[in-house]
């Protein structure tokens, strides 16, 4: 499974949707994922890829991790996994 597919699977599970319903352009708001859902998704992503995501729930816009849509999240994770490797 590619990074993209794994991230979409995690986000879909959180949103209680089928992976096919999650597009690269979807925002978390579109998918109905609230702030608690977001931190839970980030936890699941960290567990899945064994990375640490620099995300502070107090100041999401100041975090060095773009969550504006699914594509941005995937790009951020791809960057983090490359750095770890």
């Amino acid at each position: 499974m590619s990074i993209q597919d794994k991230v979409i699977a995690i986000i879909a599970e959180q949103a209680v949707l089928e992976p096919s319903d999650v597009t690269l352009e979807s925002t978390l708001e579109d998918l109905g994922i609230d702030s608690l859902g977001l931190v839970e998704s980030i936890f699941a992503i960290e567990e899945e890829f064994d990375i640490t995501v620099p995300f502070n729930a107090n100041a999401p816009e100041e975090s060095d991790f773009d969550i504006s849509n699914v594509a941005a999240i995937i790009a951020g994770i791809e960057k983090l996994t490359t750095e770890t490797a």
């Binding site: 608690l36 931190v39 839970e40 980030i42 936890f43 960290e46 567990e47």
Partner: protein
Amino acid sequence: MKRVVITGAGTINALGHSVAATLDAMKEGRCGIGPLEFRDVDRLSIKIGGQVRGFEAEGRFNRQQMSLYDRFTQFTLTAAKEAISQSGIEFHGELSAKSGVVLGTAGGGVSTWDDNYRSVYEDGKNRVHPFVVPKLMNNAAASHVSMEFNLKGPSFTVSTACASSNHAMAQAFQMVRSGMAPVMVTGGSESMLCFGGVKAWEGLRVMSRDACRPFSANRNGMVQGEGAGIFVFEDYDHARARGAEILCEVIGFAMSSDAADIVMPSKQGAARAIAGALQDAQIAADKVGYINAHGTGTAANDKTECAAVADVFGPHADRLMISSTKSMHGHLIGGTGAVELLACIMALRDGVIAPTIGYQEPDPECALDVVPNEAREVEVEVALSNAFAFGGLNAVLALKRI
């Protein structure tokens, strides 16, 4: 001052998953204590407890709820659903704005602490699930009840060890009696039956390895239980106006502090709470027919409690009945007073006195009618429920048949 009645009751504990099942077990004198089943139980020296069995949380709660509900919250919500559904109340508008939930627990999400400490210490993980804090906090259960049933009035959690739920119910009673709230959801829950929870209790060396035998000369300690008891306390006029079924009336309470020792009980502190409850209820001592004892099965509690009862009631102490249902469901710590209130309701409403089971040898220091081993049918007008906690914090409730 308003009169306060109970219009709903719910429970889950080692004796049953409902009030009806629990009261049937108490009538039969059935024991819910058995071998503990959880991870690493072989490393414990205490291997028995009143564990809730056959409770499939996964079927009752969805994935998101499961990630937020510790077992003590799961028990609370299960019991609250039974109690509120029995009461027939739906909380909307002004009723919702004024009604709240006050619950007791001693440990809160003990198994959440346990699982996550295990994960970071034993398994060496450096990350825990983001909901560990909202899952383990002591007020999690009260908050989830408020959200589930739309209770927007005074809501909080009381933590006074083994007296937690009696203190909580006393608070709820005061709020309804004073007119502050028309309805309060109250009671308590506990779920400490996990490796760390039982290991901590082992350290005190007050736990029995075989059975909880309150008041029996050969008693050798307490046995832990788990579960929840939840009640709907309601303004009598409010209950009558909507034609609610009334289980019994709550007529008084008292709280006292021994201000003496962190674990040893005091006869004077217990006696002041019992006498205070009678005074608050404005009831003569000889009206009391039944006391649900704190009755832990430890050497210290049982003789101190009997001496306190003898002091307060004088000659009437030999005529009233006093039993400890902990012999059947174990000691639910912060939830114990709530489950034990069911025995008081059964005495008042059904005229059935729950027995003290496991009773084998009379103890001259506990020479009261402890209703040994078999339930008894007796009409009772007033009942008391005792709770005397570690830390010397005591709370006694008085209830009346209606």
